[in-house]
């Protein structure tokens, strides 16, 4: 037991999780913004906008996240010199955030679209009938109700994002949890299983409140019909 506890002094485990939380935070904002735009494209009456939204979702959702993150580091940065600024390691962090955001935006889009399906068609018709065109009708009538109907699927996407933030490891973000875990396992082969369990439980502790919160919010904010 004492042997196990030494890993907490040798390594900054909370710090490692903090990096994942930061990755998640920024990527979640990016994914929410882009996902909302994509959802609006997909529900818009303009066929070419729909096609753009659909193509994005089908391409990105069906590509493994590892490949997207690797593409950011090796192709965008390595080959094309695409730099998101800051110091060397900050650039990798930002590239990872970008990859996570681009990937999860596809899932956010689909979650919002499932929320749009909870809004009866009559709501859109009533909005159009008082003279609102597509954008104001979407912003004032459809999306506010769609978000409230999409809280659970959005929460699921956030949970996936929290865990997927460990994929930043392949994007050279060496301070995040799974990278730190890998290092620890290399040097402390005597307690491999406790190390695994430590990180597994760490993620469970972070994720469970998100699930509880989204369930609570979805009940509290449900639109009464």
């Amino acid at each position: 037991m004492e042997n196990y506890l030494t890993i907490f002094t040798e390594y900054d485990i909370p710090g490692a999780f903090w990096v994942n939380i930061q990755l998640t935070f920024w990527a979640a904002i990016g994914a929410l913004v882009l996902g909302t735009i994509l959802a609006m494209l997909r529900i818009s009456p303009v066929a070419s906008f729909q096609a753009i939204g659909t193509s994005y979702v089908n391409l990105i959702r069906n590509t493994p996240l590892t490949i997207i993150i690797l593409f950011g580091v090796l192709a965008l940065y390595g080959q094309l010199g695409f730099n998101l600024g800051g110091e060397f390691h900050e650039n990798f962090f930002r590239l990872a955030v970008m990859g996570l955001a681009l990937y999860h935006a596809a899932f956010v889009c689909e979650a919002i679209r499932s929320g749009v399906n909870t809004v009866p068609l009559g709501q859109a018709e009533a909005a159009r009938a008082i003279g609102l065109s597509f954008m104001p009708a979407a912003r004032l009538v459809i999306l506010p109700q769609a978000f409230r109907g999409a809280i659970v699927p959005l929460g699921n996407t956030l949970i996936a994002l929290i865990k997927n933030s460990t994929v930043a490891a392949v994007g050279s973000v060496a301070t995040e949890a799974s990278s730190v875990m890998k290092t620890m396992i290399e040097f402390r082969a005597d307690i491999v299983i406790p190390i695994f369990l430590t990180f597994a439980i760490g993620f469970v502790i972070i994720v469970i409140p998100v699930g509880l919160l989204t369930t609570w919010l979805s009940k509290k904010l449900a639109v009464a019909r």
Partner: protein, 257 residues
Amino acid sequence: MKRDHATQSSYNGPIVELTKVNKHYGALHVLNDINLQVPKGEVVVILGPSGSGKSTLCRAINRLETIDDGSIKIDGKTLPEEGKALATLRADVGMVFQSFNLFAHKTILENVTLGPIKVKGMKKSEADKLAMQLLERVGVANQAGKLPAQLSGGQQQRVAIARALAMKPKVMLFDEPTSALDPEMINEVLDTMVGLAKEGMTMLVVTHEMGFARKAADRVIFMADGKIVEQAPPNEFFTNPQTDRAKDFLGKLITNH
């Protein structure tokens, strides 16, 4: 001053004008060569068996349904296909739906003020005042802070009427406004509509309420199989229908009641 007035009302034709309107749902010819003119102030009631195309006709007038050919004009202007111009025109056409369609996430007051504020750019204080007047008029002012789901069907439908009136429409369309209501709530909505008709609102009403047609309509239009089969003032239509389809329809209503 007089000249101003003259330019504003230089158009004296019908508020709603449909010319040779056709629409198909696959093989079903749901609107068949419809011609219809509704002058200012007229109250037109559209009757007909279900599937006769009367709801489609009503919804086509503010382009919630597209048409295959023909033309629909509101106040002399052809309905635009899409975009801002269509939205602007729709703002002049009030619509009341069978299922009320109040904005479920907004309060009663917000339901009525949304159009004036967002479409017409009215100040919130002004829109609130207008909305409260209208809610007062339809008898639900005391519910202004509630959400639609907290109101009865009849109250919701009266709010829907107030929401449409808040846009100061040139014509009001009613698409079976009492069909989703419990019997004891039908009259409160019909009374509101009769009041509107008496004030001179131009109205086009799809309904099964013969009482309303008798009381408030200037003209009854009877539709069957996508066509206007017969039209006459209500007394004439109910006492002396000309076509077999209309006789048959009225006969069934009487045996049902």
